[in-house]
């Protein structure tokens, strides 16, 4: 049985658990390092990235998560989770980031809450049907480095979904829709990563 951990320090972690359980996997809320043992992947949910970062520091999660990311643990960051996984923010805020993905993100890139929006996104990796992106004080990916594949953009061209090996990020909230395709894509990606890790050990 696949078990996906969901970082449950703060934010919309319950919603992710609902979608993942609907896809037939077990989920586990992660608040402390010892809870990470035995999980097959990790979701870092939306929330406030400064708060999540401070709680990661207070409960000794930063180094262990960096190590797991480097070791090939599949991770899926949505909105604040995308910021947490990034290398840096455009604003250079003093906040702990996992530096697990070669992207620089622009926090609150679309403005304040009154500018929050929904839009249909073309996401070829999910099929022909557009994906409903829900953007809430959302960031976007300002620049990408080597190894990063762009999976989705908003109509004006800003990058809002990307993948790099075992890392998947999006600026919007698939957990607030009833469309499980992006979570399913993550689970397929996680299975692929596990086979790769096992093959490299053999």
């Amino acid at each position: 049985m696949t078990t996906i951990g969901i970082l449950a320090l703060q934010g919309a972690f319950v919603e992710h658990a609902g979608v993942l359980r609907g896809l037939g996997v077990e989920t586990r809320e992660i608040r402390l390092p010892e809870q990470l043992d035995g999980i097959d992947g990790l979701v870092i949910p939306g929330g406030e990235s400064t708060t999540i970062g401070k709680l990661m520091v207070s409960f000794n999660l930063v180094e262990v998560l960096r190590d797991l990311a480097r070791a090939g643990m599949p991770m899926f960051g949505t909105c604040a989770g995308m910021i947490v996984l990034a290398k840096d923010t455009v604003q250079r805020y003093d906040q702990p980031l996992l530096n697990a993905m070669n992207i620089v993100v622009h926090r609150n890139g679309f403005g304040r809450q009154v500018d929050s929006f929904e839009a249909d996104l073309a996401m070829p990796v999910l099929g022909d049907k557009p994906f409903r992106g829900i953007f809430i004080r959302a960031p976007y990916i300002e620049s990408i480095g080597e190894g990063v594949e762009i999976l989705g953009k908003v109509p004006d061209g800003k990058v809002v979904c990307a993948r790099q090996e075992n890392m998947l990020v999006c600026a919007f909230h698939p957990e607030l829709t009833d469309d499980p395709r992006l979570h399913r894509y993550f689970l397929e990606m996680a299975r692929g990563c596990r086979q790769l890790v096992q093959a490299s050990r053999a």
Binding site: R31, E48, T50, L55, V114, S116, E118, I134
Partner: protein, 293 residues
Amino acid sequence: METATWTVKKGLAAMLKGGVIMDVVTAEHARIAEEAGAVAVMALERVPADIRAAGGVARMSEPQLIQEIIDAVSIPVMAKCRIGHFVEAQVLEVLGVDYIDESEVLTPADEAHHVDKHKFKVPFVCGARDLGEALRRIAEGAAMIRTKGEAGTGNVVEAERHMRAMMSDMRKVQYMAREELMAEAKALGAPYELLVEVAEMGKLPVVNFAAGGIATPADAALMMQLGAEGVFVGSGIFKSDNPSARARAIVQATTHFNDPSIIAEVSKGLGTAMPGIEIGTLRQEELLATRGW
């Protein structure tokens, strides 16, 4: 691209879950709150304990002050308008606040009506004491609910009463036959369609926080264990001995609300909490929770 949809309005509240929203009166307070791990700050002119002490009419904060707080932090900024004062709400919307609290802590501007919150692009949070009041506010467009508690007292008893009442009402309606729900809607003063939704889902259709009297990490965890999805702390932080340490401890206790050993650890050495008020010593006209209709 569609803005101000119901999904994005209540979606921001979903992103604040498991977090602490702190009352601040200056940009400096806002920076301390952000540094302590607040998920949002509530900008107001005076914390509720000072509003109580000063008396007189309590209004929306001065716009310049709100602007300074918005400029000082990267987290969402909320601000309060008076009940029914839709022009204060219009002003807060153009200032760019991320959420408006139509709050009983300020002196009501209308003693019969609340703001028609559907008209606004900015989402609203409102206080409630029971399920009927919560659903009336949601019907008016509130995208987030909080208990009223009794603000500015440092006494959690009223927040506890309101959260228990809401959770108990919700448990009850889940077991009612469909034909009983109309009578229950009438008894609660709740819109029927929303009550049916609660009966089906077993929870409010929007995020539900606790507020009003939370002063310690254990108070915050108490409200979380009773079913709150996050907490507001008003006077409890900046009326205490060591606001920064207390704020951080309340944030940590809210995350680890089910882990008493962590709550014990983070509660050590915080200094004195705000001096509290026994609710029974307040005169009827001093109660804030009874404001709202």
